[in-house]
Each structure stands twice: as structure tokens, then as C-alpha cells.
């Protein structure tokens, strides 16, 4: 698999190709743990938060919320313990960047978490990793043990008054536990149902204490922000989204892989057709889902010759969104009715069952797809699907409901021909 930075110096991917990149020694030899030293030597918690604000870093887990702002919501005067929780649940179809960041450079995540913990006053911190990534938990545990032995974790870190612990935690195969409040329920040993917001985790999160939940890639960006300064980091990207972004690319491209690009990279067509080696087997691009399965699907015509800029605003203007940054590229052999059915089954399987619109709605959608598959398609089924989505989107307890509706709505509207051929005249009577 291909791992490469394009259009920028690699930051997140700086060490991935080095031999023994996951060891403390290699990490330190290549700039590692300099940021936490700088923080402990010369910065106050507020300085750190201000730097992260200036960096215009936005959360890489999917929602794109400004990280510095999120950190500033944690009440400073609260007598309760505070927690930093790393979201390594990475289960969004098409997304696998966090996996490689942790596999190749686990100390970068540890350093990012240490800095976050210092800024927020957190003493105990967790990395919630999806259960299937067991080998990554082992890698992280090993890296944590190495850091602990070197005085970078535990009591009096680097001889200062700063003490902090980081532990790994395992999920057990539930996509919904990537949603931050469901993740916290799960970390408390409950079923992974989401919780009402507000209160937001920053105020009342893990064990009802102030908690910051951040994605792996968000936290691994922090050491570089500290080292180069927030402003310099921001300038690598755009005014509204600073720095670089790591994208996962899968599907019908010649070079699937993990790519680091500056935020605001021009443009998506070049990225797919040149950087990722173009469409495999000499076929034509038909569709692309650019942000993990939960975003609008785009037609090739919306990409080719359209200069879609790769950042939050650019992708929205292009008719989709950044989401988790997982590109799923499809060539002209793919039937969008089939691909949409596949994703609908995913959401049905992963609906946590807590609220009716999502639990029942995704189930009905799958039933409709099955009926059509069995030759019972009706001309108005496309409209029926849209109506069902309408009753899920915006009416569900958590964003998984919206995430289930968006791929279907966009596919039905943008690829009507693929649906029509399954509906009209498909009835076996």
C-alpha cells in the first residue's frame, strides 16, 4: 500500500518509512518529544491552547470542529478530574489513516496526548481503539511502556511537576462507539448508546467529568503545531483549516493508500487521476465518495474539470464533504444501486437501536432494497426511499441517522439511471 505526502513536506507521515519507526529511539532521533519538552519548559496551559487556536486545526474525526476552541470549553476551575480520550475507533467505511499513524508512529500520538493533557490539566487519559485493531493496542501498549520507562509518562514527567498517565482501551465491534458520547458510554462499561448533548463532553463527559475527545490524527498534529508555532502550521493550509490532512484512498485506483496533503490542495481530479495513479484497469471514473461512507456521493462529472479544492469549504462547494477523509473511488463497472444497498446494510447493522427513526428506518430501507433485488421493484421506490430518509435525517437522536440518510439521498438523486433500471419493469409477475 502506498503512503506518501504530496504537495507538502510530510508532517504526520514524516517517520512512517523509517526503519523501526515505532521505537522511542527513532522517534527521538527525528524530533520526537521535543514539543512536550518545549511545553514543559516554557509554556502555560493557556499558551498551548492559544497556539492550537492559532493553528486553525480542525478535528479530523469527521465533524471538523476547531480543536483549540473545543479545548477552551473545558472549565478551568472545575474541581473534578479531567480526561483526554483519543478516539481510535476508526470504523467509518473507507477510512484507515489512523491505523497507519498508530502502527508506524505510536509515540507521535503519545506526545500529542501528553500535550493535550497538560493543556487541559488531565491526569488520566485513554486511547479507545476499535476491538479489531488488537495488534495496534499491543503496539500502543509497548510504546507506552517504553515512554514510561524513559520518564515521559507517569510521575514527574521529564523531572517537572507534570504527572500524567495514558492507558489503552478496547472497543468490541460497534461503529456507533466512534460517536464521542457513545464512546464514553462504552468506556464506562455500558452499551454504546449515544448521550444527549448538551451537556457536551467538555463539561460533563467521562464519569461526568470534563473530557476532551479527539481523533488520532487531530492529536498527532499537536506536536508539530507546538514545534513550529500555530501560525506557521495554519499557513500550511487555508485560513479556516490549517495544516495538512491525511486521506485514505481505496477502491478502483492504481495506488490506493494513505496520502498527506496540505489543506486546500488543488484539486481532487489531479489527486485521483495523477497522485493516486488514476483508475485501475484502464476504466473510467464513475463515482467517488470522498469522506468515508457518511457523505454525499459525487458523480465523475462533478470531479473532472471542476477544480474541487480539498478542504472543508471546497468539498462542500463540490457537493460533498471532508468527513473522515476516506476516498472510495468507483469505476464504471459499479452499479450505484448495489453500492448504495451495501452501505445501507452497513448502517442498518450499525444502528445502535436507541431511537426509532434510525433503527426502524434503516431496517425498512434494507427491506426495500431486498424487495427490489427479488424482482419486486416499483416505479415509485426511489421516492419511497427519499421519503424514508427524510424521516431519518434530522429526526434521529445522533448523527448516525443523518449519516445513513445522506449516501442514499445523494445516490438516488445523482444516479437516477442506476436506480431506474432496477425499478421499472423489474417486477416478476
Amino acid at each position: 500500500m502506498h503512503i506518501e505526502a504530496i504537495g507538502c513536506e510530510p508532517l504526520q507521515l514524516r517517520r512512517v518509512h523509517l526503519e523501526n519507526s515505532r521505537t522511542l529511539e527513532v522517534y527521538r532521533r527525528n524530533g520526537g518529544y521535543e514539543a512536550i519538552k518545549k511545553v514543559l519548559d516554557s509554556m502555560s496551559p493557556d499558551d498551548v491552547i492559544n497556539d492550537v487556536k492559532k493553528s486553525a486545526l480542525r478535528g479530523r474525526g469527521g465533524a471538523g470542529f476547531p480543536t483549540g476552541l473545543k479545548w477552551s470549553f473545558v472549565p478551568k476551575d472545575s474541581p473534578k478530574p479531567k480526561y483526554v480520550v483519543c478516539n481510535a475507533d476508526e470504523s467509518e467505511p473507507g477510512t484507515f489513516k489512523d491505523r497507519y499513524l498508530m502502527e508506524r508512529d505510536p509515540h507521535m500520538l503519545i506526545e500529542g496526548m501528553l500535550i493535550a493533557a497538560y493543556a487541559l490539566g488531565a491526569k488520566t487519559n485513554y486511547i479507545y481503539t476499535r476491538g479489531e485493531y488488537r495488534y495496534l493496542i499491543d503496539i500502543m501498549d509497548q510504546a507506552l511502556a517504553e515512554a514510561r520507562a524513559a520518564g515521559l509518562l507517569g510521575e514527574k514527567i521529564l523531572g517537572t511537576d507534570f504527572s500524567c498517565e495514558i492507558y489503552t482501551h478496547t472497543g468490541a465491534g460497534a461503529y456507533i462507539c466512534g460517536e464521542e458520547t457513545a464512546l464514553l458510554s462504552s468506556l464506562e462499561g455500558m452499551r454504546g448508546h449515544p448521550r444527549m448533548k448538551p451537556p457536551f463532553p467538555a463539561v460533563s463527559g467521562l464519569y461526568a467529568c470534563p473530557t476532551v475527545v479527539n481523533n488520532v490524527e487531530t492529536l498527532t498534529a499537536v506536536p508539530d503545531i507546538i514545534k513550529m508555532g500555530g501560525e506557521a502550521y495554519q499557513k500550511l493550509g487555508t485560513e479556516k483549516s490549517g495544516g495538512t490532512k491525511v486521506w485514505s484512498v481505496s477502491g478502483h485506483v492504481n495506488r490506493p493508500g494513505v496520502y498527506e496533503l496540505p489543506m486546500g490542495y488543488d484539486d481532487m481530479e489531479k489527486f485521483i487521476m495523477e497522485d493516486c495513479g488514476g483508475i485501475a484497469n484502464g476504466r473510467q471514473l464513475k463515482a467517488v465518495i470522498p469522506g468515508g461512507s457518511s457523505v454525499y456521493i459525487m458523480r465523475a462529472e462533478a470531479v473532472i474539470g471542476k477544480d474541487v479544492r480539498m478542504d472543508y469549504e471546497g468539498l462542500v462547494a463540490g457537493g460533498s464533504s471532508v468527513g473522515s477523509g476516506g476516498f472510495i473511488v468507483m469505476d464504471d463497472t459499479v452499479d450505484i444501486f448495489e453500492s448504495t444497498k451495501n452501505l445501507t446494510e452497513f448502517y442498518k447493522h450499525e444502528s445502535c437501536g436507541w431511537c426509532t427513526p434510525c433503527r426502524e428506518g434503516t431496517d425498512w430501507l434494507v427491506k426495500i432494497f431486498k424487495r427490489i433485488d427479488n424482482g419486486g421493484g416499483r416505479a415509485d421506490d426511489a421516492q419511497l426511499m427519499l421519503d424514508l430518509c427524510d424521516n431519518i435525517e434530522g429526526k434521529s437522536f445522533c448523527p448516525l441517522g443523518d449519516a445513513a440518510a445522506w449516501p442514499i439521498q445523494s445516490a438516488v438523486k445523482r444516479f437516477p439511471e442506476d436506480f431506474a433500471k432496477h425499478l421499472v419493469g423489474s417486477r416478476k409477475e
Binding site: 467505511p93 477510512t95 452499551r191 494513505v258
Partner: protein
Amino acid sequence: MSQQLTQIRPLSQPVHMPDEPATFSAAVEAEIDGHLAKYPVKRSAILPLMFIVQRERGYLDPAGVLYLANRLALRVTDIWEVATFYSMIQTRPVGKYHIQICKTLSCKILGEPLITERVCKKLGIKPGETTADGRFTVSMVECLGSCGTAPMFQINFDYHENLTPEKVDRILDSLP
């Protein structure tokens, strides 16, 4: 949660709860203590502990449930409640090798159907079934974060990526 429903089914029938909880070696007990020490609240260790029980006993059986209830100072129903939510927690026996084939989009369009066909043909079972000798279980699962190296399956916790039907043969033949 369709897969979880198949797991809930045996629980909707009476489950025989043994009088005695499961017991574990001193080494496993120490490992469990290690997990409990990470959290201010014992209950938080429920998933890591379920995985240990599963590893030691093949699946989370009623004696294992009773053990967890005692160890975590919870009710038996609390344990079942959590166990039935998570697709990786097995409340019924599974084969020694649990082959979990990813069926989600990137794998699907890059040859998953051929992989599934080969696996099932070779083992003579359908997804969701276990071979009569108890060696293999085949399940279809959702995206495992290997879309860039699709198609793929996981055997227990091991990733096998960039699969081809021939590679499937080699992997299955080489299992001890």
C-alpha cells in the same frame, strides 16, 4: 444489528446459570487486575475482561458471565446487557479459527464475493456457520479498516489483506 440479533436469540430462551463461576489461573487473574487498575470505576473494564474470558473459554459462557458479575460487582443482567450489544463478544461457541470476511463497499467492489465463495467452498459451510469439527467459523463483517488493501479477512485477530482466491487457499492450508 442484525448479527447481534442472532446472538441474542439464545438468551431469549432460558439460560442455565451455573452455581459456580468460572475460575482462572493466577497469571490470568493478574492480567485482569492489571486492567482493573486502569480505571477509577471497575465497570469500565468490562470489555477488556470479556475478551479475556472469551480467549480463555472459547466464548463468553454463563460461568464466565457469573465470574464477571462477581468480579465487577454487577448483576448478571448487566453483563448480558453489555455482551449482547457488541458484535465481537461471542455468547455462543465459535470455531478455533474465526474467519471474518469484510463485506463493506471497498472490499465488495474489489473481489469480496470471490473470496467468500472460495472460503465457503473450501470449508463446506455458509457464512454464519461453524464446521462440524469446530475448527472454523465464517462470518461476514463490516469494514475493518483495510479498505486500501482490499479484499481482506481477519482470522481471529490477524489481518490478511490483498486477498486472492489462491491466497485464501494458502492461508487456510497453512493453519495449524
